[in-house]
Subunit: 220 residues, 2 copies
């Protein structure tokens, strides 16, 4: 029996260890990726994220500087990869942030703009509040939402036949300093390198390896 | 210009608020979902997850009991949805867990089984160690990986034309008690309801709504 195309896509995708510096991802493909990130689902539709795309040589130079203290081995991805996306979360997702979502919903025709209806929609914010610590920090919750976007993006790249490498080995503090203006208080703890693997490189020819089904999935 | 099929898939998917209790997802589609979850990418290929599928009436009855204290409104999804998947993470991902990954890799033909090569592979565990707190808990890191699987799963469901509802409104403590044996110390803080939306129900006919591009994405 032929494999389902979804499985073929996921089995074919690889986390590249070595990118081809001569190849760039087309703007058409990047456009699909950007829109896919924006369309990602999140808890209470909170969308507590910012995606900063590092495309220009100038921006790459700025990102390279953030590898001054650690994870030097990942620096080559910045130059060799086509694009790098910084996935950042809002560590203090507040009612004002959720109000933007609610007002966008109303503008898009979801619910009317009576104050009763708007207040009912806003009341869902109690869930974000329940995720706050004593300092009103709900970063663990918002960070998790960003990883939904990452999982979505990796699937999108597999469909586009573009390689992607999630990169947690970065320096959130130096990134916060260097991209202070763009991040505007959001925190970046994971990035996604996008490009094409080097024809000679790394693990491109190795078989995909995952734990056996019985170790990770049980049907009750 | 026609929309890219990836965008059409993502725009069409909806987080259902009301499932059709008469419809069940085919075992073929569920099989694709299970394999997709297993194939999900994770940091250092750690795969720090367990997916517990609630399919039988008996298992649904057990899951219903965990809504005894809170989130009563989500209980209906358990009975009306076709399947519920508990996505659980390992709060104390240890070297023994990573050794299973390394040995599976070797068995699958990635690297040889010399002790030098195995030790080199095992040394990547230092990254998991860097994510531990003073009690050797690295749950924030492993939980994030589970959300990559969730993002992947939502994209898979969109392609299969199956509805899915991520559900953080659950009771991790009661789930740990009820499914103690199956979870084996793993923690479930998010579940995924899978099924078909009710023809009369909820938000199926409302337009999709997301923040505008300028609020969430910036190209540098």
């Amino acid at each position: 029996m032929d494999k389902h195309p979804i499985i073929t896509d996921l089995e074919t995708r690889k986390t590249s260890k070595h990118y081809d510096p001569t190849r760039r991802v087309s703007s058409e493909d990047m456009e699909v990726l950007y829109e896919s990130l924006r369309l990602t689902a999140s808890s209470i539709n909170s969308q507590p994220w910012k995606f900063i795309v590092i495309e220009s040589e100038e921006a790459k130079g700025r990102l390279e500087k953030t590898f001054a203290r650690k994870n030097f081995h990942n620096k080559k991805h910045i130059t060799d990869g086509s694009h790098v996306i910084l996935l950042a979360h809002n560590p203090r997702y507040a009612i004002e942030d959720f109000a933007k979502v609610v007002d966008t919903d109303i503008a898009n025709g979801r619910g009317d703009n009576s104050s009763e209806s708007r207040n009912r929609a806003l009341s869902k914010f109690s869930f974000a509040e329940s995720k706050m610590d004593a300092t009103r920090n709900n970063a663990e919750w918002t960070k998790a939402q960003v990883y939904i976007a990452l999982g979505n993006a990796l699937h999108v790249l597999a469909r586009l036949d573009v390689d992607g490498t999630p990169m947690e080995g970065i320096d959130p503090e130096l990134i916060s300093e260097e991209f202070e203006q763009e991040l505007d208080g959001y925190v970046c703890e994971v990035a996604l390198v996008v490009g094409y693997h080097h024809p000679e490189g790394g693990n491109a020819k190795l078989p995909k390896s995952r734990l056996p089904r019985k170790d990770v999935l049980k049907i009750l």
